[in-house]
Subunit: 335 residues, 2 copies
DNA sequence: CCATCGTTTTACAACGTTGTAGGCAACGTT
DNA sequence: AACGTTGCCTACAACGTTGTAAAACGATGG
């Protein structure tokens, strides 16, 4: 049977509240009393009932991280960092998978949210600012950017600049026909829109012009989508000597399709990705990519949440920018 | 401000309990009363306070899934299936990362467990049966096998047979010097022990003999460990024409190391893995592997937990076996 | 019109915890 | 000696919910 404060109190011969005080580290407890209580706690293997504590205090010590898909490595890696960063605050992280579906995202943002968790770190794919507007409840930190600024705290990286830089890098390496894989319909995928903008900026700045036939859409950003898009570009007959994939899994799929088509990377076609997932450090060839500082993203998100929880909930939303760097690997330069 | 039953009750002009009855689908509520209450619920956007409900009912509707590392793709994929299977029971899944450290696993198994969740699906790396013995509390389902049968429900696959089959497959393809990557110290990694046993069985059954110099340990089962182990085998000068890696990430690392050494896969060395992670379907070459039915594993685990929660908690522990199949891909046969 | 019975609704207590307010010693200060 | 101060501890109430028991209601039959 599970032990309660009352059981500990009876065993130690003190009041329930005194046990509570010991558990919570209240200072004014005589050392011998404290020792007696701690002994009783140990003997009974007492553990606080978190639901009761929450009911009383209004805090659960649990925050949620909601991501579209856990088996996209980027999110799995991010989840690990968030769990680590949250541990520093003594928080447990509930990880939730939305599948990127608007309905599920809405459920997570409002339903799950209510009462079970103290705060939410949320990487929305489909949800819009107005979906979020109605949620007065749980403090929330958004990851990744949309063009429209919502009412919530947010951690972003500068997608446009990063995309421009890596595209420029390709240009500097001598590539002139640079394709892009991963564009999406405007109402989904803000990341896609921003990375496309950076790609376009770089091309125009270099006087190369923007050729729509070089831009391949990808409904989702999985390996299979990257492979399919690459095959599409190849069969379309368009000339190309490099590909900028909007994330690493797309790029891994593209590598595969190029391999199947008998093309060498980087000799025939250079490939770059985005996210710096672990696979890209071991793929054949290894993958040049934009590497966002995931550890920093996670840390900033947790800090924003902590400030919001402890501080002024009505304070204006803040937006923090995380850094990134370019990782040049084999897929852009012969070894 | 968050709404309570009381607020809804006042608005609808009924008692708190009647609102509770409506929320919980109690039958004896007059239709017009029910309508009035539901209207009030909608207007106030009422959501039950789960902590209070739990405190009263002893159920949270949350189960936990504890895995060693989320950025090992196998666990990420498994997590996805568990979340899906649990949704069918209306459960939310709290995903926890233990890092495979015994201390953290113990915390998860006892600490987190208490009061916050109804049940736990647990994939332990370092924890032993005796660690688990002391936990009377939360129902638990273990994933993966240890040699010693613990006191908890369990979902396993037949590791020994699977390892034997895939090794036999290599032998049948004509390979004679088959290395193994992924062995571990006996006190950790039960999977390693079982897969090694299957590998050995197959070799002995084919009259090939078991050569310890062909077995490379791997402290963890990441890509980097696989690459390092492969390099070790290659520099040791031992002759080999195939490698059985105890999971896919090891195999991907091995592929990388072979590539760097200028060896072709499968022409010079065949490679097989275990787990069937998505990467293996897109790697160059694609990876032959043992494919456990992850969806089935997740479903069985959730079912076991459901039975335990609704049924007899003192019933003897059950062990269910999930199926697997061999996926033959490019890394064992030229296209 | 009353008794009976099933339906619908309600009051109350309890789940385990902690904040508030207060009491009792022991101590130091006037 | 009286007083305030401090340290330690306790009783009580409350967080939002639901199970229990019982009350109120309405319909039926005698």
């Amino acid at each position: 049977m599970r032990q309660r404060l009352k059981d500990v109190a009876e065993r130690a011969g003190v009041s329930v509240k005194t046990v509570s005080n010991v558990v919570n580290g209240y200072v004014h407890v005589r050392p011998d009393t404290r020792a007696r209580v701690e002994e009783a706690i140990a003997e009974l293997n007492y553990r606080p009932n978190l639901s009761a504590r929450h009911l009383r205090k209004g805090r659960t010590g649990v925050i949620a991280l909601a991501v579209p898909e856990l088996d996209i490595p980027y999110f799995a890696e991010l989840a690990r960092y968030v769990v680590t960063a949250a541990a520093a605050y003594g928080w447990t992280v509930l990880i939730d998978q939305t599948g990127g579906r608007r309905e599920q995202e809405r459920v997570v943002a409002s339903g799950i949210t209510d009462h079970l968790i103290d705060g939410l770190i949320f990487s929305p794919l489909a949800l819009t600012a107005e979906d979020l507007a109605g949620l007065d409840g749980t403090p929330m930190v958004l990851l990744g950017e949309r063009v429209d600024h919502g009412p919530a705290d947010r951690v972003v990286i500068d997608n446009v600049t990063a995309a421009r830089e890596i595209t420029s890098q390709l240009i500097q390496l001598g590539h002139r026909r640079i394709a892009a894989i991963g564009s999406q319909r405007t109402d989904e995928g803000a990341s896609a829109r921003l990375r496309l903008a950076g790609y376009r900026d770089a091309l125009l700045a270099a006087g190369l012009g923007y050729d729509e036939t070089l831009v391949a859409p990808a409904p989702a950003w999985h390996r299979a989508d990257g492979a399919a898009a690459m095959r599409g570009l190849l069969t379309s007959g368009v000339r190309l000597d490099a590909v900028f994939c909007f994330n690493d899994t797309l790029a891994l799929g593209a590598l595969r399709a190029l391999h199947e088509a008998g093309l060498r990377v980087p000799e025939d076609v250079a490939v770059v990705g985005f996210d710096d997932i672990e696979d890209g450090r071991f793929s054949i060839p290894t993958l040049t990519t934009v590497a966002p500082d995931k550890e920093q993203i996670a840390r900033l998100a947790v800090e924003l949440l902590a400030n919001r929880l402890d501080g002024d909930r009505a304070a204006p939303a803040r937006e923090l920018r995380a850094s990134y760097r370019l990782e040049l690997r084999e897929s852009t330069q012969p070894r």
